[in-house]
């Protein structure tokens, strides 16, 4: 009975919660850049590299190399966002849940760890409505134009990582962009103003994304005192091919090389300080848009503190706080935008064996703001990561 409850509960957990979104920044350019991070990284304000210990983060292959045992991770990320236009024309709230990271790693003989991850890259879900009117004969008829955009870009990644000696580890992965974008424009005529048999005008299409990226990373860890890691992700162009019955054209977007660097130092008494930085140049991507944006070099950084000796219910429960800032390459205002957030959270080790955590959960909460020239968003973003190992 208990087993069935577990299966049912996990099944529910993995059901995508329908079409939703987390931000109006989804409407700009290629959408809101998503980060395949777990809740621990979020709580520490990190950008996905250089945290102490091992982890299943696609942006930090070196940390995967130190997993040692089979590991699976799943992350859910709900958010609640209040938005307002700078001109005061509109304000409101949106909310949604994303699953930015699902991954599994498994030892390959004595060679190292092979891993498979599925992570978000861009969120492109939104809808738009615009009232208007058209003149039909001698009459003016009210209409509502709507644009429904659904889909996004994700990456499925296959990689291999391994330790080199006691201190070093490294890894490499190949990712394939996938996902799709559905865009549908509909013009609806006002009820009662036209014959009931008047049909809506609808047009649109479906594009499928493809492309390849390669990530390489390396790291060094000296016991529990210090760890530093870095990675670089080279990406080919992101291609969007229309399906056969789509009238829209194909698009190709150059994707930037992304550099990540991070480090963690254990100061004393289980108190660790971490910091990381990421850089990517979106200039070519922005220039490739139909309406070229002024996207340029985007820098992200984050700092955080982890108190590793904290306990909850008699089990290790590290407390985390942090701060992060990142540049968003696309924004409704057409240029770069900035997202900043104060972060926090804790972990809970449910089961461990020796130095291995066999079951654990991490929670994070962020209070942040996105700002560009026309739009301001303030958000709460939660994070929940489940980590199972040794199966």
């Amino acid at each position: 009975m208990t087993r069935w409850r577990i299966v049912l509960a996990f099944g529910l957990a993995f059901i995508p919660a329908g079409v939703g979104a987390q931000s109006h920044f989804n409407t700009a350019g290629l959408g809101l850049v998503q980060e395949a991070l777990d809740a621990r990284t979020r709580a520490l304000g990190g950008i996905g590299v250089g945290l102490m210990g091992s982890g299943l983060l696609p942006s930090d292959p070196a940390s995967i190399g130190r997993l040692g045992i089979p590991t699976a991770v799943f992350t859910a990320q709900p958010s609640w966002t209040d938005y307002r236009r700078s001109d005061g024309a509109d304000a409101g709230t949106v909310q949604g849940t994303r699953f930015p990271l699902v991954g599994v790693a498994y030892p390959v003989r004595q060679w190292g760890i092979g891993y498979l991850t599925f992570g978000s890259v861009f969120d492109q879900r939104f809808q738009a409505e615009r009232p208007g009117s058209v003149v039909l004969g001698l009459d003016t008829v009210n209409v509502v134009d709507s644009l429904h955009a659904d889909g996004g870009v994700s990456q499925i990644r296959v990689g291999f990582a391994r330790p080199f000696g006691k201190y070093l580890s490294a890894g490499v992965s190949v990712a394939r962009y996938n996902g799709s974008a559905l865009r549908r424009f509909t013009r609806t005529f006002a009820d009662g103003e036209v014959d009931p048999s008047v049909q809506d005008f609808a047009t649109g299409g479906l594009w499928r994304y493809s492309g390849t990226s390669v990530t390489m990373g390396a790291g060094a860890q000296m016991g529990t005192v210090f760890r530093a890691a870095g990675s670089v992700e080279w990406s080919g162009s992101l291609s969007a091919e229309p399906t056969e019955d789509t009238r829209g054209s194909a698009r190709v977007y150059p994707m930037p090389v992304t550099w990540r660097l991070g480090a963690t130092a254990n100061l004393a008494g289980g108190l660790a300080l971490t910091g990381s930085v990421m850089m990517a140049d979106w200039t070519e991507t922005g220039a490739a848009l139909v309406d070229p944006s002024t996207a340029g070099k985007a820098t992200s950084y984050g700092v955080g503190i982890e108190l590793g000796n904290a306990r909850l219910f008699g089990r290790p429960a590290p407390l985390r706080v942090g701060y992060r800032s990142r540049d968003l390459p696309f924004s409704p205002g057409g240029g770069m935008a900035t997202e900043t957030a104060y972060t926090g959270g804790f972990g809970l080790t449910l089961l461990e064996s020796g130095r291995f955590v066999l079951a654990g959960v991490d929670f994070s909460i962020e209070r942040g703001k996105r700002v560009d020239t026309v739009l301001t968003e303030e958000f709460w973003r939660g994070g929940l990561s489940l980590r199972l190992a040794g199966f």
Binding site: I6, I15, G20, N26, R187, S197, V290
Partner: protein, 437 residues
């Protein structure tokens, strides 16, 4: 223990994610819309879409109408007589015998009777008392095929009336109907006439009801023969029994001819108008369209929001003008080559009553515009043009009454070649394709 913790953990995860209701953000920016989406209305003249208009008559028979008509020089021209064949007389009735006990008596003696005519006061034109005449037919007739001049017109058998209009007849009597006093007319019938109509072997079996007051057209809903019978079980009492009409029809003169330049729907026998719809693959006008969306304008199914055949009413022949609203149905004709017997497709009208038009449109207020929506039909034609895997619908449409026959009156519309010829109204929307950013 471990399973319990994992269960709690998974349940927590599920509830955390599942509890988050989703709200898709509604964009604040006009820039996300594809540009230059335009909606225009155009009307194509008959020459650009229509052809092969043909008016066909003869569908159904007055006997199928369930009601009948009498007229005398209505609108100066129309004469109409109602013909009735009574059903077999009842051969038994339940009566009280001399002891007061109810019994079924199968030995009835019919002493007299009365023909009761129920009038349709709404559809009838008379506002003042009118005189009707009842007579006995004197020759055999066939209810399904009889008309003003022929008593029988079946395959291999044709016989004219001795006198047009159902004659010669043997007069039975006259009666006055005052439409302000009620809806029935009663003709007393003596025992000899009762016996004559009761002889079901007589080939002349039947009655004719005619109107003697000129200038009116009356609608007859029902005719029955009320019989006064003497029961054998109690000779001191009389009972009423009823013989309904086995067949009721009407004959009229003159029969309208097909309009040379118009569209006709309805009547009895019913008229249908058949036409072919040919939607052009592209439009090169009118200027309003070209100014809005450019020309040539490829006409594809997804650009058609609305399509309708627009007709303009004209006055029907005064003798056949409707006194109530008229329904117009439209159905595809599967095989034009086999007309007038081609099977028809399902109705394109939204209700079984068709598109309703008031009677004035075909009488005192002609020229009224009527739209018959054909959006799905036109889109299907255009879809078949662009997709070879889609079977094109028959391009031939029939305009007809939702029920045939439904009334002596018919609807008339202007046809091709007239100033108010039919047009095809289109509401079109076009714009650049939706693109990714």
């Amino acid at each position: 223990m471990i399973r319990k913790k994992l269960g709690i953990l998974a349940t927590l995860a599920a509830s955390t994610t599942w509890a988050c209701s989703e709200q898709t953000p509604t964009s604040l920016e006009d820039a996300v819309f594809p540009g230059d989406i335009r909606t225009v209305e155009v009307e194509l003249p008959w020459a650009q879409f229509g052809s092969g208009l043909e008016v066909l008559g003869g569908y159904g028979s007055p006997v199928e109408l369930g009601s009948a008509v009498v007229a005398q020089a209505f609108a100066g021209t129309l004469d109409a007589n109602t013909l009735v064949r009574f059903a077999d007389y009842p051969d038994r009735a339940t009566v009280r015998d001399t002891t007061g006990t109810s019994r079924t008596d199968s030995t009835l003696t019919f002493l007299s009777g009365r023909v009761v005519v129920f009038m349709d006061t709404i559809a009838s034109t008379a506002a003042a008392p009118v005189t009707l005449a009842l007579a006995e037919l004197t020759q055999r007739w066939h209810p399904q095929t009889t008309d003003w001049t022929l008593a029988v017109d079946t395959l291999g058998d044709s016989m004219a009336w001795g006198e047009p209009g159902g004659g010669p007849v043997l007069p039975v009597g006259t009666a006055v109907w005052d439409p302000t006093a009620g809806d029935t007319v009663v003709f007393p019938v003596d025992s000899a006439q009762v016996a004559a109509w009761g002889d079901t072997t007589a080939v002349r079996h039947g009655a004719r009801i005619s109107l003697e007051t000129p200038g009116e057209r009356l609608h007859v809903r029902q005719v029955v023969l009320r019989l006064v019978a003497l029961p054998s079980v109690n000779p001191d009492t009389l009972v009423d029994v009823t013989a309904g009409a086995r067949s009721m029809s009407f004959i009229y003169d003159p029969s309208p001819l097909p309009p040379p330049d118009g569209i006709r729907v309805g009547g009895v026998p019913a008229w249908r108008s058949v036409l072919d719809i040919g939607v052009p693959a592209q439009l090169d006008g009118p200027p309003a369209l070209c100014d809005a969306v450019g020309c040539p304008f490829p006409l594809t199914h997804d650009r058609v929001n609305y399509a309708a055949l627009v007709l303009y009413s004209r006055s029907s022949d005064p003798a056949f003008q409707p006194t109530d609203s008229v329904g117009i149905d439209v159905r595809p004709v599967y095989d034009r080559g086999t007309l007038p017997k081609s099977p028809l497709g399902g109705s394109l009208a939204p209700t079984i009553l068709g598109y309703r038009v008031g009677p004035g449109a075909f009488g005192s207020a002609p020229g009224q515009r009527m739209e018959i929506p054909l959006t799905g039909f036109v889109r299907a034609i255009l879809l078949a043009k662009s997709d070879s895997t889609v079977k094109a619908p028959s391009p031939t449409l029939a305009l007809l009454s939702p029920f045939e026959p439904v009334s002596l009156a018919f609807a008339s519309f202007e046809g091709p070649g007239t100033p108010a010829a039919p047009v095809l109204k289109l509401i079109l929307t076009a714009g650049r394709p939706v693109e990714l950013p």
